[in-house]
């Protein structure tokens, strides 16, 4: 038993040493840098979103650093993977804030991975720009002093869909939502708005992120014969719904929320299945069709070109939102001039007006930490296998 005591002792010593080691092993870079933390879902359930988002942020930062950084100081990204799990999201956030002393945090790619971080950043006074779409992230504003987000509020998306439905005279609607946070917050927002605007929801069905076949749900909806079907979901099963919709020879109007917009949406759903499908999303996909007077036209065409050249895959509104988050933070750093601090970034974030982003034009204010308007969300349609602005 004596051996075990000695072994036990050495083991606990190694444990403490490695604990300290990974606590303070801040990697000393050469000169002074602006450190920005990134806390996204690189593995796990939502990694289909997380990886493109990280790519977009890294692309922007590389571009800025090539131009000598902000006021001569380069930006250093500290990227962590929260494994689509909220416990890891909180731990990673604490690591970035305390160990890496980041100035600001971009993260929580979804609502569940953002929420637990909010009380912590508020207490630590660190500005955070989330890419999660839940409305609870930035409201009630008085408790969200340090929290911003770039995805359009679900109300805005719901508003643009409802107005499009009214424009097309569709009054009875079926709602198909994914059983995750995104689907749920969309459902609540849409239901509230539809009631006001006199649109009746005659069927409401759910499906899982990993489901393979949604024909049973669609058959249910087909039986009730609605004018249009709204689908609030994320890839990959979002595209399977479109394929099943076509397989069942359903002809109603099919409208997706912005979240479904994975870059491979059309070929995942199948060319002829996707024909005629609508989506309410930012203008990322129709960059080249925008008139020259549209302020986003310039930024979007450049964004699409850069992204496709560096990552060989198409763009999507999802990574556009992360790109905007990086835009906002770097803009706030720029506005802080010489003394850049967490407080200065927070205050400047609130003052940002008319910043042209991929998702829309950001006009922040102390009581609006998203800064987007319903008009930023437009309805697109697949016309001969390409996204085009719906008429």
């Amino acid at each position: 038993m004596r051996l075990c005591k000695k072994l036990g002792f050495w083991l606990s010593l190694a444990f403490v040493a490695s604990l300290l080691g990974c606590g303070n092993a801040t990697i000393q870079t050469e000169g002074k840098t602006h450190k920005i933390g990134v806390d996204l879902e690189l593995t796990g359930g939502s990694s289909v979103w997380g990886v493109p988002q990280k790519n977009a942020i890294e692309m922007l930062v590389k571009e800025i650093n090539e131009k000598g950084g902000i006021n001569g100081i380069p930006i250093e990204l500290v990227v962590y993977d929260n494994e689509s799990n909220e416990t890891q999201a909180l731990i990673v956030a604490k690591k970035a804030v305390e160990q890496d002393q980041v100035l600001a945090l971009i993260g929580g790619g979804t609502t569940p991975t953002t929420m637990p971080i909010i009380p912590y950043v508020t207490q630590q006074k660190v500005p955070i720009v989330s890419v999660g779409s839940g409305d609870g992230i930035t409201s009630p504003v008085n408790e969200r002093e340090w929290v911003f987000k770039t995805p359009s509020n679900n109300q805005d998306i719901a508003k643009s869909i409802v107005s499009f439905l009214k424009q097309k005279g569709k009054t009875s609607v079926a709602f198909l939502s994914m059983n995750n946070a995104y689907g749920e917050s969309g459902k609540n927002a849409f239901e509230a708005l539809a009631a006001e605007q006199g649109i009746t929801i005659i069927a409401s069905e759910k499906f899982g992120a990993g489901d393979k076949d949604m024909k049973p749900q669609l058959t249910n909806i087909k039986a009730k014969n609605p004018d249009a079907i709204i689908v609030w979901a994320i890839p990959p099963s979002a595209s399977i719904v479109n394929r099943n919709f076509w397989e069942l020879k359903m002809n109603q109007m099919l409208i997706y929320s912005a979240g479904a917009g994975a870059n491979a949406f059309i070929d995942l759903a199948g060319k002829d299945a996707a024909e005629g499908t609508y989506i309410a999303s930012g203008k990322v996909w129709v960059a080249e069709q925008l008139e020259s007077n549209d302020p986003q036209q310039g930024l979007l065409t450049k964004y699409v070109k850069d992204y496709e050249s560096s990552f060989q895959t198409g763009v999507s509104p999802i990574d556009g939102m992360a790109y905007d988050a990086a835009l906002l933070v770097t803009k706030a750093i720029e506005m802080s001039g010489e003394n850049v601090s967490r407080q200065s970034i927070r205050d400047n974030l609130e003052k940002i007006q008319g910043l042209v982003g991929a998702t829309g034009i950001f006009n922040m204010s102390p009581d609006d930490h998203t800064g987007l308007k319903p008009e930023d969300v437009i309805i697109l349609q697949v016309q001969n296998s390409k996204w085009a602005i719906a008429k």
């Binding site: 990694s47 997380g50 049973p216 058959t219 397989e247 069942l248 020879k249 491979a264």
Partner: protein
């Protein structure tokens, strides 16, 4: 809910049921010869689907890609059995389960690195407009899946019933010790069974990839559903596994259509609980004390 819609539910239930049947046959073969509940069965399906999709996107003709990916799945199954399950063949059932859980986690990680995390798709074998059948619309790929299921079952039947190695494998499934007296080496049979089970999973992966897309983490849920189907069938013989798969597919489809789509998966696992508690030997299996 008109008649046509009901038929639609039944048809799509049978298609999904065919998929579950193929996976559960793989489960039953591996369980009876190796005595292992293979938690990594879903991962073998994923390996089949992802390798086929990547091969096709790299320009390889569709049928060749499918054959290669089925062989890849079988090879990985054999390697896994050799390095992980063979050395632990004398440990208790529970230890073996934990080992297969470890294998499935490791395969998922490796897949994410080799194939990336974006969903991939595979062009359908039978492309074209869905076909109208008794008022329900059946996509052509579903015919392909049902076709593949039937062909595989026939091939399996011929292998097990008609070839010498087939009956040797069945003998090993029934009585491991006595099969040694007839010159059958249990270790080789265990390897063969695992490779066969993995190949079946590969076939499933290849046939569902065009319909339900392939992601590196698709394995978990589809593997569990395959297991539920095998348990319903009684984990004893091949016909039981097929019936279990079809029943589960139907129950899920009707459950989602008639009861509530949110609780679709819950229905499958409730059935698992009920079967395990009230009829552990499964709907088809004969009463055998070994289970309880």
């Amino acid at each position: 809910m008109s008649g046509a819609d009901l038929i639609q539910l039944i048809v799509s239930g049978l298609t999904v049921g065919g998929i579950y049947a193929l996976i559960s046959v793989g489960f039953v073969t591996i369980y009876n010869v190796n005595g292992v509940i293979n938690f990594a069965q879903g991962e073998f399906v994923m390996v089949g689907a992802m390798s086929a999709a990547s091969l096709v996107s790299a320009g390889c003709p569709l049928w060749l890609a499918c054959i290669i990916s089925i062989l890849v799945a079988a090879a990985i199954g054999a390697i896994v059995q050799k390095i992980a399950l063979h050395p632990a063949r004398f440990s208790s059932e529970v230890v073996l389960i934990i080992i297969t859980i470890g294998i499935s986690t490791a395969l998922r990680g490796i897949a994410q690195i080799t194939f990336g995390s974006n969903p991939l798709t595979l062009p359908a074998f039978l492309a074209g407009e869905p076909v109208r059948l008794l008022g329900a619309y059946v996509p052509r790929q579903d015919f392909f899946i049902v076709g593949i299921t039937v062909i595989t079952m026939v091939l399996l039947y011929l292998f097990f019933e008609k070839t010498m190695t087939g009956s040797a494998l069945r003998a090993c499934m029934m009585n491991r010790e006595v099969s040694r007296l007839v010159g059958i080496s249990p270790n080789r049979m265990a390897l063969l069974a695992f490779g066969l089970g993995a190949a079946l999973a590969g076939i499933v992966g290849v046939s569902i990839a065009p319909v339900s897309l392939a992601t590196y983490d698709m394995g978990m849920m589809i593997g569990l559903k395959g297991f539920v189907a095998a348990t319903i069938g009684g984990l004893v013989n091949i016909p039981g596994a097929v019936i279990g798969g079809l029943l589960l597919g139907l129950a899920e489809s009707l459950g989602a259509g008639l009861i509530s789509s949110g609780y679709k998966d819950a229905i499958a696992f409730l059935i698992l609980l009920l079967v395990l508690v009230f009829r552990p030997q499964g709907i088809v299996g004969a009463k055998s004390g070994k289970r309880v």
